[in-house]
Structure formats: C-alpha cells, structure tokens
C-alpha cells in the first residue's frame, strides 16, 4: 500500500514541460497572453504538465511580466505549474526543445511554436510533439500554409489562439502516433540521393 502510494507520488512529480517559443524575428504578444490564462493552465494540469517555459522574444519581457502580475491571483490558484520565461537564446533553442522532449526520468512534453520554418524544423528533428500557432497579425504571411500542410500530413497540430486547450488535447493524440521526420521520399528523384545527386550532376562527377 505504502509502496503504491510512493509510486503514485513519483509519477505525479515527474517533470513534464510545455515549451512556448515565439522565435527571434517578430513579436507575438497574443500567444504569450494566450498561454498565461487560467484556462490554459487547467488544460496543462489535466494533461499532467508540471512546467511551463516561455521564450517571449527580445522585447517580450514587459508583456510577460504584465500578464504574470495581472493574473497572479488566478494563476497562483493553479500554482502546481512552475512558470519561467526568457527572451532569446543566441545559440538556438534546441536545448529547450530537448528538455520539452524530456530528459531521463521526465515525461515527454510539448512545444508550442510560432509558424517560423526554422523552429518547426528543429522540433520535427527532435521528434517532440509540436503545436504550430500562426501569428494572425502576419496573416498574409505564407508560413500559415506550412502549418496547414504539415498538420494535414499529421506531423504537427495546427493550434489556434482562441482554443489552445483543444490543441493540448490534440497534441496528446499526436504523441501516440508521432511520425518520423523527414517523410519517406515522395518526389521524383532518379538518383535517390536528393540534393547531393543534383550537385554532383552539375559538377559533372561521373561515377
């Protein structure tokens, strides 16, 4: 009896991280705001998350602090989630993504990312479940196409700002059938060697 309680205790405290990233180029206050809501915290708690890490961009600290203090009471009522934030990591965010993937003794979490191709690619390579949230203030941006296409192929969850709770639920589903990136080659590649074949062609290497 005592032992099973201990085991339950153990699984309960196993770290599970949700990493939110808005990238380095544009600000995305709406996403920072959307993840610092009681509703979103509830969704995280339901899915057994313990940590929330927000990369808020070079100028996002004020926004982050503002929401944290504004909603301090509501959020602290759900204080079993540890919230941290930082501006940007010059060396890339691969390390944060890996910690969302989970180190030894931790549970695999999720990455919530803006629709930047660099961030998406990083997450796909690490094979951590990914929710892509296109920035509505950049609606003419072609990157929304990338999010839609990848979602329809079943590689990512296309998250919407108004309903991130649903995205968290979907990402648990995505985790169960996580596909490996890159996809099996579906193009017409006679050499089967991708870019290396084309480069060798153009160089005139014959062997």
């Amino acid at each position: 009896m005592a032992q099973s309680n201990q085991a339950a205790e153990k699984t309960k405290v196993q770290k599970k991280l949700c990493f939110v990233t808005i990238g380095a180029t544009a600000s995305f206050d709406a996403l920072i705001s959307a993840v610092l809501t009681p509703e979103f915290f509830d969704a995280l708690r339901e899915a057994n998350y313990t940590h929330l890490l927000v990369q808020y961009g070079k100028e996002g600290q004020l926004i982050f602090n503002k929401y944290m203090s504004q909603r301090a009471e509501q959020l602290s009522a759900r204080n079993n989630i540890v919230v941290q934030g930082f501006g940007f990591n010059k060396n890339g965010l691969a390390q944060e993504m890996r910690s969302a993937k989970g180190n030894k003794g931790e549970t695999e979490g999720v990455v919530i990312s803006h629709a930047g191709s660099g961030s998406i690619l990083d997450a796909l390579r690490i094979a951590v479940p990914l929710i892509v949230v296109p920035n509505p203030s950049l609606l003419n941006n072609h990157q929304i196409e990338l999010a839609e296409e990848l979602a329809s192929m079943g590689y990512v969850v296309h998250g919407k700002l108004a309903n991130l709770r649903a995205a968290i639920t979907e990402s648990e589903e995505l985790r169960r059938r996580q596909k490996v990136w890159p996809p099996v080659n579906s193009g017409e590649d006679p050499s089967g060697r991708g870019i290396a074949g084309v480069m060798d062609d153009e160089m005139g290497f014959v062997d």
């Binding site: 990238g23 380095a24 180029t25 010059k90 930047g116 191709s117 660099g118 690619l121 990083d122 072609h142 990157q143 196409e145 990338l146 839609e148 296409e149 890159p182 996809p183 080659n185 579906s186 193009g187 017409e188 590649d189 991708g194 870019i195 290396a196 074949g197 084309v198 480069m199 060798d200 062609d201 153009e202 160089m203 005139g204 290497f205 014959v206 062997d207």
Partner: protein
Amino acid sequence: MPLVHELKAAILVGILLFVVASLRLLYILPSVRKTCPAPRKRGAPTRLLIVLGSGGHTAEMFAILSKLDTASYTHRSYVVSEGDNFSAQKAIEFEDHLSARLTKLEARSPSQSPSARPPEQKNRQAPGKSPSLNYDITIIPRARRIHQSLWSTPISAVKCLLACFSVLRSPSWTALNSADKEMVAAKATYTYPDLVLTNGPGTAVCVVLACLLLKCVGARGTQNKLRTIYVESWARVRGLSLSGKILVRLVDRFLVQWEALKGVGGGRGEYLGVLV
C-alpha cells in the same frame, strides 16, 4: 550634316550592341539552352559557394548540407548579408562539425594512405580554429536595406553587385597569412566557384545576376564553372518567394520541396521531395 550621320551611326551601333547582347544572354540562359557540365574526376579541388540568408534560410541551408561530402567539395565559400551576425556563426559551427566528422572517419580507417587523401585533409585545421584554408566567409552589403529611400537604392545595388563580383572571383583569404606556402597554392587553385548553391535570400538574386553577367561577357576562367542551383524554401508550400520568381528561369537547376510547386516556371521546378 556630318553630325546627323554620326548620330545615325551611333544609334545603329547601339542597336547592334543591344541585339548582340540579347542574343548572347539568350544563348547562355539555362532555361533557353540547357548545357551539360563537362565531366570531372571526384576529389579534384572544387569551390562551392553557399549563399546564406536570415534565420530560417540559414537553418534550412545547413539542414540541406548536413551530409555534404567534403572530399568532393573541397573549399566552401559562405556569403552572408551585412547585419546578419547569426549566419556567420552558424557557418563556423557547421565547418567545425564537418571537420569533427572527418576526424572520426579517419580514426575508423587509419589504413588509408596519405597520398590517396583528397587535398582538403592535408591542410585541415583543428576544430574551432577559423580561419581555415577549407572555407571562407564574406559579408556583402545589402542591395536594399529595409526602409532605405528609393533614390539611393541604385547606388547600394551597384555596391552589392561589385561585392558579388569580388566574392565570386576568389575566396577571401584576408584573415590568413599570405606568406604561407599552402596559402599560395590555395590561392592559385581556387578561383571562380564551380557551383553556387542558394535557397532564396535577397542576396541570392545579386549573386546569380553577377554569375550571369560574368558568363555573358565570357570572363576568363569562368568556363565550366559558376553553375547555379536554387532550392526554394521549405516554407514555400503553394507559391514561390520573390527571389524564386526572379530566379526560376535564370539558374541551372531549380528545386522545390512541395509537390504543388512541381514544374513551376514553365516546367523548371524539380521536386525531389523534402530536402531539409
């Protein structure tokens, strides 16, 4: 009276020059007349020029190059836009990774005779030690900065084009000791790049135009060199980027990464699947 004659003659010459230039351009354009590269042996010194862009472009480029065979592409030149600190750093990290991979390979097959090794391995440097003879990084000014006034754009565009010519002519060895013997040999070996690879930052347009101009005038030493490959960004799912639209008929090979773009630019877009 003679002035009119001279004027007429000048106009005629002008028209003639224009026609000749246009015909020449048509003759060299890859989309009009496809040429086959001359065969060459693997392991000969080759120079690969890689145009890097901002965050996303650069990340994609190094994903594309992750399996690059350094024995076939012995010298790499990276072109970085002014004001982009991130890409140059990424290039150095990538070269360190290549050189670490080579060391691992050597450790696995120590029986390989030194004479059979490609030239790169002989003058390899310790990781993290840039500059190296195996690669160089050049920063070139932007053709047009964001919010730059329109009247000054032609001046900055010309500056950018001149910088492109200079980076094409030879690698920038400035950071190296020019008295070094290997250095002198490398200087003689590497001139115009054999291959130019880009995935679509604004700078790419300048570099490819510079290549075309050099080929158009038939600059000495450009024969069988300056072949261009453009890889449209993975982020472009249903339509080409501006650089892609400009360059689709001007490069030797135009690769796309989504099926919807297959055959764009009058059948030029090749779809080999995802390359990143």
